[in-house]
């Protein structure tokens, strides 16, 4: 009590009881990596089964559980928490705040996650197995036809939502209330901006997901008929409610990644970000549009043609603000003094592959063409391009970029670059051929397939093992850095980096900005 500059407590209680944004950020990051391994492990089972036609390893019911849990764990357990962890670490440091606005609640948002995912994973061992209706769990497969474990799943979703909402409220309050004097909105680093908007999306749509699973719960246990035509309801109602959440969800995944890329590209181009203002407006437009395009996942459910057209046009529009972002990044690189350390490599990988994924997204948005693409591997290829090469690549970039600041040690550059190149090759080998099988007519979520898809599936599986193995290198590199990396104490680890986080000592002290920093009014945003 009362003492001024104190370091962290020792032992387990430091982590259990902490209110420090850096500790909480660290826990989020490690937790999400653990979930990435678990979700990746499930993906490896999927790819191993799909290595050849025929059923070899798992039975179809278990395969569906793998697909379902892979999607759920990657989205809710790996990607979202990883960016929340990053937000926790970086936002207070980027806006000159002493900590997050509501530190105890911050800790709670985190600690809800591990036991909840444990409960979710434990459904695998329950009678009837884990939920197996896909990560989109369409009714009535997820209600009347679901195993009893669906009840646990529903409550898990409820509390995960609670965690996300509290986390987002915390971020919103921090950004709106804790900026150092002089840090106006239009001076905030883009990562802070993208997270502010993401947090808003989360607060808006997580409750809708809660509503969807609540209706499921009522249908399963209390005899209501929300998703049953016999009682006057409609299974498609579930899809509307789900995708009203689900589509903004995919931008929740990608917007913080946009933020990361917008920090890193200028640093290694040694040139300020091009079009800061338009980046902010573009992000806001994407967020706005994300609320009115949800039914592009449902072109084949039998909507009236007017609805079909509306959702098609609205979806296509998203290409405009996203294009603005891509063009701004490239113009930032244009005539910069580029260097290609690992974070930059991952950002360039992001740029190329995300754009390809965006193009296939645009193709999917064309309703009549989507009649052929829908629920085929073309869709699987699309969303792994935007989510793995988008979100996961940018997360890798972020870790390499800020790791030296976090722990005061430099990672091994050669190993980092190797990680990038193996990832890049493995990733493309896995997911590029999936475009082909998808176009040729292979449906998704099947444990076995017709012979004409065999070659590409084998390629894809090999690629997946390579990509998976490259993550071992990443894990090793990070641990080796923390334990025995080359110490560095330069404040500015990267010569081109801009922003408040680079003005504090390296490694970042346990408490930063107990006194708000002075923001140079003339200083441009980073």
């Amino acid at each position: 009590m009362g003492d001024h500059h104190h370091g962290p407590a020792k032992g387990l209680s430091r982590w259990l009881f902490t209110t420090n944004h850096k500790d909480i950020g660290t826990m989020y990051l490690w937790f999400s990596f653990a979930m990435f391994i678990l979700g990746g492990f499930f993906a490896m089972i999927i790819r191993a089964e799909l290595f050849q036609p025929g059923l070899q390893l798992v039975d179809p019911a278990f395969f569906n559980q793998m697909t379902t849990l892979h999607g759920l764990i990657m989205v809710f357990g790996a990607i979202m928490p990883s960016f929340v962890g990053l937000a926790n670490w970086m936002i207070p440091m980027m806006i000159g705040a002493p900590d997050m606005a509501l530190p105890r609640m911050n800790n709670w948002s985190f600690w809800i996650l591990p036991p909840t995912f444990l409960l979710l994973a434990s459904t695998l061992f329950m009678e009837g197995g884990a939920p197996a209706a896909g990560w989109t769990f369409y009714a009535p497969l997820s209600t009347t036809y679901a195993p009893p474990s669906v009840t646990y799943f529903i409550f898990c979703i409820h509390v995960l939502g609670l965690s996300s909402i509290m986390g987002s409220i915390n971020i919103i309050a921090t950004v709106m209330n804790m900026r150092a004097p002089g840090m106006t909105y239009m001076k905030m680093p883009l990562f802070v901006w993208t997270w502010l908007i993401t947090a808003f999306l989360l607060v808006a749509v997580m409750p809708v997901l809660a509503g969807a699973v609540t209706m499921m719960l009522m249908d399963v246990h209390f005899g209501t008929s929300f998703f049953s035509a016999a009682g006057g309801g409609d299974p498609v109602l579930f899809q509307h409610v789900f995708w009203f959440f689900g589509h903004p969800e995919v931008y929740i995944i990608i917007l913080p990644a946009f933020g990361v890329v917008s920090q890193i590209i200028p640093a290694f181009s040694r040139k300020p970000l091009f079009g800061y203002d338009s980046m902010v407006y573009a992000t806001a437009s994407i967020a706005f549009l994300s609320f009115i395009v949800w039914a592009h996942h449902m072109y084949t459910v039998g909507m009236p043609v007017a609805g079909e057209l509306f959702f098609m046009y609205a979806t296509m529009l998203i290409a405009v603000p996203t294009g603005v972002k891509v063009f701004n990044w490239i113009t930032t690189m244009w005539r910069g003094a580029l260097s290609f350390e690992t974070p930059m490599l991952f950002c360039i990988g992001f740029l190329v592959l995300f754009t390809i994924g965006g193009f296939t997204g645009l193709m999917l948005s064309i309703a009549p063409a989507d009649f052929q693409y829908h629920d085929s591997y073309f869709v699987v290829a699309h969303f792994h391009y935007v989510m793995v090469a988008g979100a996961v690549f940018s997360m890798s970039a972020a870790v390499y970029y800020w790791l030296p600041k976090w722990c005061g040690r430099m990672y091994n550059e050669t190993m980092g670059k190797t990680h990038f190149w193996i990832s890049f090759i493995g990733f493309n080998l896995t997911f590029f051929p999936q475009h082909f099988v998808g176009l040729a007519g292979m449906p998704r979520r099947i444990p076995d397939y017709a012979l004409q898809f065999a070659d590409f599936n084998m390629m894809s599986s090999i690629g997946a093992f390579i990509y998976g193995a490259s993550q071992i290198l990443f894990l090793y590199n990070v641990i080796a850095t923390i334990v025995a990396g080359k110490p560095t104490s330069e404040e500015k680890v990267w010569d081109g980096a801009e922003g408040l986080e680079w003005t504090i000592p390296t490694p970042a002290p346990y408490h930063t900005f107990e006194t708000p920093p002075k923001i140079d009014p003339a200083h441009a945003h980073s």
Binding site: M1, G2, H4, R14, F17, T19, A97, P98, D99, A101, L102, P103, R104, M105, N107, W108, F110, W111, I112, P115, L119, P148, Y152, H158, V159, L162, S168, I169, I172, A173, M178, A204, P207, V208, A210, G211, A212, M215, L217, M218, V220, H221, F222, G223, T224, S225, F226, A229, A230, G231, G232, G233, L237, V241, G302, P304, H511, E514, T515, P516
Partner: protein
């Protein structure tokens, strides 16, 4: 305690280590595990078998509520001890605002479901419009009107006569609770409910005026009236449910009308209960602890916002569930 020495900037209180989060998590996870197990016992279980689901649930819930209680107690103590800067208070304001916004979105999902079902699904099932042109093949004889007093299943002659399989059996209600079906306007409970709830919003405002003027007894009085009105509302709601179940056959099983009706009014009722509890706690704080001053009464303000929010939801409910 971390504090700042900056003179140009007020201290922002960053609490030290705290066990609250971990305790709250334990309570929460135990209670959801228990709740899920209870429901599974109910639906899939063997009625003769003893299970510990209720014990786990109640234990978890108790622990959770105790932790929350403690959490608020500590926060209040810190505030009274003067640790909270104006900036921290603003964080609380923002927190409460966005929390209420998330609640709005929760109700939005259910209202959305209601509109979708009423405007699109019903007519489609009855074979009207572009989306449902051919549905007459499945639900011959079903015609749509709202409130839905005959489910498609009953229109074709029950679960056995229906062409599609196992989706449960739905027995329609015989009377709806909408205004058109009321015996007489004065016997129509929702009207009284509306009056009760609207006036409670008003009394809540009077209480606020009281504390703003530093008039504690006025504050206590109007706050007590507000809580009382909340209780009356819940009592009336209970009567209404009883009437629905026992006299009108309007149950959760009564097809989509019963489903949406109970979902919307039920969750609203639960929120009234929460809001009332929050206000009750503020009342006790004022009466017993003599807390709150004219310029520092955030606990009450937050609860009152919540109360007004619950009230606004009711206005929409009244309009779309009972009248239109």
């Amino acid at each position: 305690m971390t504090s700042q020495t900056s003179t140009e900037y007020a201290k922002y209180y960053v609490p030290e280590k705290s066990k609250l989060a971990v305790c709250a998590t334990i309570g929460l996870v135990l209670s959801i595990f228990g709740a899920a197990s209870i429901m599974n016992d109910m639906t899939f279980g063997d009625p003769g078998q003893e299970t510990s689901s209720w014990t786990i649930f109640l234990l978890g819930l108790f622990f959770f509520i105790a932790t929350l209680f403690n959490w608020f107690r500590i926060t209040i103590k810190e505030n009274i001890a003067g640790m909270n800067s104006a900036q921290l208070k603003k964080s609380y304001v923002l927190g409460m605002f966005w929390f209420i916004f998330s609640e709005v979105m929760f109700f939005f999902a259910f209202f959305g479901a209601l509109f979708y079902v009423r405007v699109l699904v019903g007519p489609w099932l009855a074979g009207e419009g572009e989306g449902g042109r051919m549905n007459g093949l499945l639900w011959e004889g079903f015609s749509f009107s709202w409130p839905l007093m005959q489910t498609p299943q009953e229109a074709v002659g029950g679960a056995g006569a229906q062409l599609i399989a196992n989706n449960g059996s739905f027995t329609s209600a015989n009377t709806s609770l909408s205004f058109n079906d009321a015996h007489a306007w004065w016997a129509w409970l929702p009207l009284w409910n509306t009056l009760v709830l609207l006036s409670s919003s008003f009394t809540c405002h009077l209480a606020h005026m009281g504390i703003l003027n530093g008039n504690r007894s006025k504050f206590n009085f109007w706050l007590a009236v507000t809580v009382l009105l909340g209780m009356i509302f819940l009592g009336l709601q209970y009567m209404e449910y009883h009437e629905a179940y026992v006299e009108y056959g309007l149950t959760l099983n009564a097809g989509i009308y019963g489903s949406t009706f109970f979902m919307l009014t039920g969750f609203h009722g639960f929120h009234v209960f929460m809001g009332m509890t929050m206000l009750l706690i503020q009342l006790l704080r004022s009466v017993v602890g003599k807390q709150f001053t004219a310029d520092d009464h955030f606990g009450f303000e937050a609860s009152s916002w919540y109360w007004h929010f619950v009230d606004v939801v009711w206005v929409f409910l009244f309009l779309f569930v009972y009248i239109l």
